[in-house]
Symmetry: C2
Subunit: 419 residues, 2 copies
């Protein structure tokens, strides 16, 4: 598979793309529109059987892309039959011509797959402000629909799908699990793309999950809200937020499990756990493919007033350019961690702050510990997997977030993204 | 003068340090404590005559440095006789030993200059979390006090002062003006240091101004609040905020001008204008010395609900790593400007947004203009002085902020600051 990225594969990439299982009823097809990239797939069509529900989240940007606005109209009803994604052009700030592109794409999908346009989710990623041409999309749609209808997409199809939605990604991202709901076996599979502009609130990232579980429209919405907070809203590459981001899960119901209404129903515990695992796995892969990333930075915060507060503080640390460059340089500069906590806006007296680098407590009680072993901390920072843990009080709130180091590679990629 | 920085001089540096006038009664002396740097001055003592008032602001970090906490106790009274600054060690997260350092420094200054310790402002910049040693400071204090007492410091002394407080700065920063209050000639001179962690809310930057104007303690506080918002709170290098930042103005009253109580008194107009000019000049010098900076980025926002809102939106643009890398690459990617506006949290429909690059209107009415000349926009981005102007509505709020491009140089400096 040809990746769009001209940049070297992230050293944090998993060895290989996992085997994603076919989900009964989920058709997967990819194609090349040529609208921006040459010689690679840039379109993904997924099709779903009647009765499929959808839940998820879209960017909170006040200038969302046209496809975001389109898909937001579908989410409240919670029903979908198809998803069309294109990579290379985000269809943002494109005015009425951009809306026309979205309408034509949805119409082409509806016609080719035999559903209504208001059952077609749309998603786009890429450059802002250029009106995309629907012609090339319409031209290939019959072929895509035919390929998707040929049967549920298995490991190969999922890998091609992950490749088609990639932009500056240096590796393709997927995760899957088998679990159960009230004794019935169900499967979840998902793909994602980063990177760049990846920040909480769904910044430039796309994630699409499918499951054969039967999940009502309200339940799938609640499930994805919870999963998003723990995963895609807990990563940051550069603090920027995209106009296009989206994470969706489609549930076909083919597994025939018991219908459950309530998120807290104990019969959902295994499914929730599996869903969180997949979403966090995908989110960490996105952070690990942050532009120019050479190290994964995991920040845990405990003792905050609430989980939400803990997440905000953790993200201040994980987003700080000075923390991220220190990680890049393998320089265990814990003062920059304290600086980032200080700017979080919370009233955290230095005395209550405990900072751990790796497993070593570095600072506590208002200052550095006398037996602080800087060489050990620097050795930890020199590794691929950097862990910072901060206790900010004795509150019940805790969170874990993921980011990456800030390197010359980030500059090289972003100072020259369009050229 | 030996600069601390081992990095090349910013291409945005002014040709030379300006001639800063002696301010009657203001003694200036520098010295070398050797506490971190070898072979350069790292201490600045300024002394002021009886009756001197002081006003200014300190970092809003919840983990402020010991000297910040010290100086915050002095500001409400608005009276000061001396200022001691040390560079290289920020005295942050240093616990009781750090407090002892501050007390010993203030005591040494008080004893050597003949004032009270609660009239001594303290300021430190540098590494966090290492307890500084007061011994070397005490050792040189008598010499510093003697030098400061020799007479008001003129251009040479100001330049040495600016050099002594520098850390990663690649050029020293100063500005001055002559103006009048109700017909009496008064002078203002000021020095500053950046860079790195420079963000609004007084992030790692120091600025010290002196004037021979007579300004009451309330008036100088109000004057500096206004000047800070227009200058030091309107710049950003990396969005990080320091634990140590401070901007102070000392007014000796030697000029003997009319006492004025009210900021809005028309007889203060010329002074305010001159003060704003100096503060903005220093702030822009700090932005121009952003770590690795090769271009100054000026962002203007108009049409916001208030000036404060306009500043927040402008800073979102000026702080965005994706905007800053686009500036670095000379790539007039206006979509990233729209993205940054979108993440500001304000409800700004794309239709009302107008984006200018240089003097060219690029996008308006919800999309790019048909006659957009990308080559001209890129030529503007390729220059040293990049200007982005955004209209976000028809509100009365406007602001102008300054930042710089994000380059490999930023990474190189910060991935290796302590080594």
């Amino acid at each position: 598979m040809t990746m769009a990225s001209k940049h070297p594969r992230s050293p944090l990439a998993p060895e290989r793309f996992p085997e994603l299982p076919a989900i009964a009823g989920v058709g997967i097809a990819v194609g090349a529109s040529g609208m921006r990239y040459k010689g690679r797939d840039d379109l993904l069509l997924m099709t779903f059987p009647e009765g499929t529900t959808v839940g998820g989240a879209t960017t909170t940007s006040s200038i969302p892309g046209v496809p975001v606005v389109w898909t937001r109209r579908i989410l409240p009803g919670g029903r979908a039959r198809a998803l069309l994604v294109n990579a290379g052009n985000a269809n943002v700030m494109t005015g009425a011509p951009g809306e026309r592109f979205a309408e034509r794409c949805a119409a082409a999908v509806a016609e080719a797959t035999g559903c209504r346009t208001d059952e077609v989710c749309l998603s786009s990623t890429g450059v802002i402000g250029q009106v995309p041409d629907a012609g090339p999309v319409e031209k290939v749609m019959a072929d895509l629909a035919k390929a998707a209808a040929a049967g549920p997409g298995g490991p190969e199809a999922w890998a091609r799908a992950a490749t088609a939605i990639a932009t500056t990604d240096t590796f393709i991202k997927g995760a899957a699990a088998e679990t159960e709901i009230d004794g019935t076996k169900v499967r979840i599979a998902g793909i994602a793309k980063g990177s760049g502009m990846i920040a909480p609130n769904m910044a430039t990232m796309l994630a699409f999950l499918a499951t054969d579980a039967a999940l009502g429209p309200e339940l799938i919405r609640d499930l994805m809200r919870e999963a998003n907070d723990l995963s895609f809203n807990s990563i940051s590459v550069d603090g920027d937020m995209s106009t296009s981001d989206m994470s969706l899960m489609f549930a076909t119901g083919s597994a025939g499990n018991t219908a459950i209404d309530d998120l807290s129903d104990h019969r959902l515990a295994a499914f929730r756990h599996a869903l969180h695992g997949i979403a966090i796995d995908l989110a960490k892969q996105i952070a690990a493919d942050g532009e120019g990333a050479t190290k994964l930075l995991t920040v845990k915060v405990a003792g905050a007033p609430s989980d939400r507060d803990a997440r905000l503080i953790a993200l201040k640390i994980a987003e700080s350019p000075l923390v991220k460059t220190a990680v890049a340089g393998g320089d265990a500069n814990w003062g920059r961690i304290a600086m980032a906590v200080g700017k979080s806006g919370y009233d955290i007296p230095p005395e209550v702050l405990t900072i751990r680098i790796g497993d070593q407590v570095v600072a506590a009680g208002g200052g550095v510990l006398p037996d602080y072993d800087e060489a050990a901390a620097s050795a930890h920072y020199a590794g691929r997997d950097v862990r910072v843990t901060v206790q900010v009080g004795d509150g019940p709130g805790a969170a874990e977030v993921w980011s990456c180091d800030l390197t010359r590679g980030y500059i090289d990629i972003n100072a020259d993204y369009r050229s």
